[in-house]
């Protein structure tokens, strides 16, 4: 598909998305859309570090949580939302910088486990020091409207997709992919692997922090520990892989599919079944279909022509 065609279609979709709140008033539909967009942002942010740079960060929830917690706290204390969001993203990025330096010196496996453990530590800490749910004060609850939440989610999703897309076509993207393919060879070709891994990590965590901010703004009541729940990482990872790791469309399709499946399955089957289904799909993809749904579509197209 040519670039012009691609942009036109994307443009049309964006316009449609912008107009949705005008025509749709059903809260469940709006919630579903808001969540899909949230997942698109979150999974795309992981895609940058895990899919393009090849560093499987299993502690992504930590950055989502930091963003969410800070945004909610600041916003509830009166900070204008945009400022709070920026603060949330920055906080996530600062944290990423602090742990990125030592973490990236660890060889492959250790990095993956290290980030997982880190997120767990944060969850335990916040579960303990903030055990009570944060509930919106009654004034805000009365004024609660889904529309601004939807638009915020849309903006962040567009930002995430746009940013990752731009990077994927740039010199930075090429460098990241070279690191993914072979770190030693990348170094030998002049790529400062530590610097670029950190760069991807910072952008990725900043976006995750923003996604967390969206969630913080959206949730009427939420347990702070839940903001750091490992599910946020895992959902992002399985969405990216099932959709198509290292592609732009992959996380988008994956997110739509994931939330749809979640809603559908929750109607008939016990909660959490969608995780089971996606988990099985995930294993299948890792073993037999590394390109995910996007790869599958490509293969089918190729066979058809």
């Amino acid at each position: 598909m040519s670039n012009t065609k691609r942009f036109t279609i994307s443009g049309i979709i964006v316009v449609i998305l912008l107009l949705i709140p005008v025509v749709v008033s059903r809260t469940d539909l709006m919630t579903w859309l808001t969540f899909t967009l949230l997942y698109i942002a979150l999974s795309q942010s992981w895609n940058l570090i895990g899919g393009y740079a090849g560093q499987q960060n299993l502690g992504h929830a930590a950055f989502f949580g930091i963003g969410a917690l800070l945004v909610r706290t600041l916003w509830l204390y009166g900070t204008p939302l945009p400022l709070a969001l920026v603060a949330g993203a920055l906080a996530a990025m600062i944290f990423a910088l602090i742990i990125g330096f030592p973490a990236f010196r660890l060889k492959g496996v250790y990095f993956i486990i290290g980030t997982l453990v880190l997120a767990e530590i944060l969850k335990i800490i916040f579960d303990t020091i903030l055990p009570h749910a944060s509930v919106l004060p009654s004034k805000l609850l009365n004024d609660y409207s889904l529309t601004p939440r939807y638009y915020l989610s849309l903006v962040i999703a567009l930002l995430a997709v746009g940013l990752v897309y731009g990077i994927s076509r740039s010199k930075l993207g090429l460098g990241l992919m070279s690191i993914r393919e072979d770190e030693d060879a990348a170094e030998a070709a002049g790529v400062d692997t530590l610097k670029y891994k950190l760069t991807a990590f910072l952008i990725s965590t900043g976006l995750a922090g923003l996604a967390g901010g969206v969630y913080a703004y959206f949730a009427a009541a939420v347990l702070p520990g839940h903001m750091f729940a490992a599910e946020w990482t895992f959902d992002a990872v399985i969405i990216v892989f099932v959709g198509g790791v290292g592609t732009i469309i992959g996380p988008i399709i994956g997110s739509i599919f994931f939330v749809l499946l979640q809603q559908l399955l929750n109607l008939f089957l016990p909660a959490g079944t969608h995780v089971l289904v996606f988990g099985i799909l995930f294993i299948f993809v890792v073993l037999y279909l590394p390109g995910g749904l996007v790869g599958l579509i490509h293969k089918l197209k190729k066979n058809a022509s």
């Binding site: 492959g108 453990v117 767990e120 530590i121 990872v237 089971l276 988990g279 294993i283 890792v286």
Partner: protein, 290 residues
């Protein structure tokens, strides 16, 4: 005061033995096959549930039923290996490690859900008639069950150690882990060796699961918690040090118990922090080879 410290120490050893046992299977699998199975804890959970239902439905005492659980988990593990991990053995090392992590992660997603569907999310404890009993020595309480647990852990690890050192199969496992190409040339069926090793690892995890069910409780989500514990111990001990895993487990157990006195609920984070510190400053662990 001394009594408190001593009791804490004993409690720490009790839990630590479990940590060590939980870690041994993981260490074995990673040392031999370079597969880091994040789903390791899931097999522990299944083992615990099997023992639970054996007691509940058939009245079989968990210690007597231990061999049954071991066999069941061995087979379960071998089949899992065949299904999920054997395709990985062809990849070159870094890819294999990354993919095995992903697969383990997939198992971690899937197993708890299945467990929840089958057995509900309720917490289960394995409670034979003698659980809760204890005897005092110098004012320190020694629980029957935890003590038996430590004993079981020691026996299992010793047995494994002897198995690897003395038997032909054990030697072929070690040979395959050193150099699988050479092992293959010597006629060792590498794939089968891997499968059996994996099965042994999961069998041990299953046994650990019984002990967890006896001394703590079981729930579908227990897997990840124990995988993390096992990971900490493996890293603390050093990859490839199977015997060291036991001692590292004891160390972790005692540290957590002591930490709980001063840090309360944050003590759990202590283990994780130690893990990170070791990872950064001494990645080969306390007993491992550099």
């Amino acid at each position: 005061m001394i009594a408190l410290v001593a009791q804490t120490f004993v409690n720490g050893i009790n839990v630590g033995a479990l940590y060590g046992l939980a870690a041994v299977g993981l260490s074995l699998t990673f040392g031999v096959m370079k597969i880091l199975n994040i789903g390791h804890g899931e097999f522990l959970m299944v083992g615990g549930y099997v023992a639970f239902w054996m007691l509940r439905l058939a009245g079989i005492d968990p210690f007597i039923g231990l061999p049954i659980v071991a066999v069941v988990l061995f087979l379960f593990g071998a089949v899992s290996y065949k299904l999920f991990f054997s395709t990985l053995s062809g990849f070159h090392e870094e890819q294999k490690i990354k993919n095995s992590l992903l697969i383990g992660f997939g198992l971690f997603l899937v197993f708890p859900q299945i467990a929840r569907l089958l057995w509900t999310g309720d917490e289960r404890a394995i409670t034979p008639f003698y659980s809760g009993g204890s005897f005092p020595i110098l004012g320190i309480r020694f629980g029957y069950v935890p003590l038996a647990g430590v004993l079981v852990a020691v026996i299992v690890i010793l047995a494994l150690h002897l198995f690897l050192k003395k038997t032909y199969f054990g030697k072929s496992v070690r040979g395959t882990s050193e150099n699988w190409k050479a092992a293959k040339l010597m006629g060792i069926n590498v794939n089968r060796t891997y499968m059996i090793t994996f099965g042994i690892g999961t069998a041990i995890a299953g046994v650990a699961g019984i002990l967890v069910g006896l001394t703590q409780s079981l729930s579908p989500g227990v897997g990840m918690e124990w995988t993390l514990k096992a990971l900490i111990v493996v890293v603390l001990a050093g990859i490839g040090s199977v015997g060291g895993a036991f001692f590292a487990g004891l160390i972790l157990g005692v540290l957590e118990a002591v930490g709980a006195i001063f840090m309360g609920p944050y003590a759990v984070a202590l283990g994780l922090v130690i893990f990170l510190v070791i990872l950064m400053f001494r990645p080969q662990g306390l007993f491992g080879k550099a």
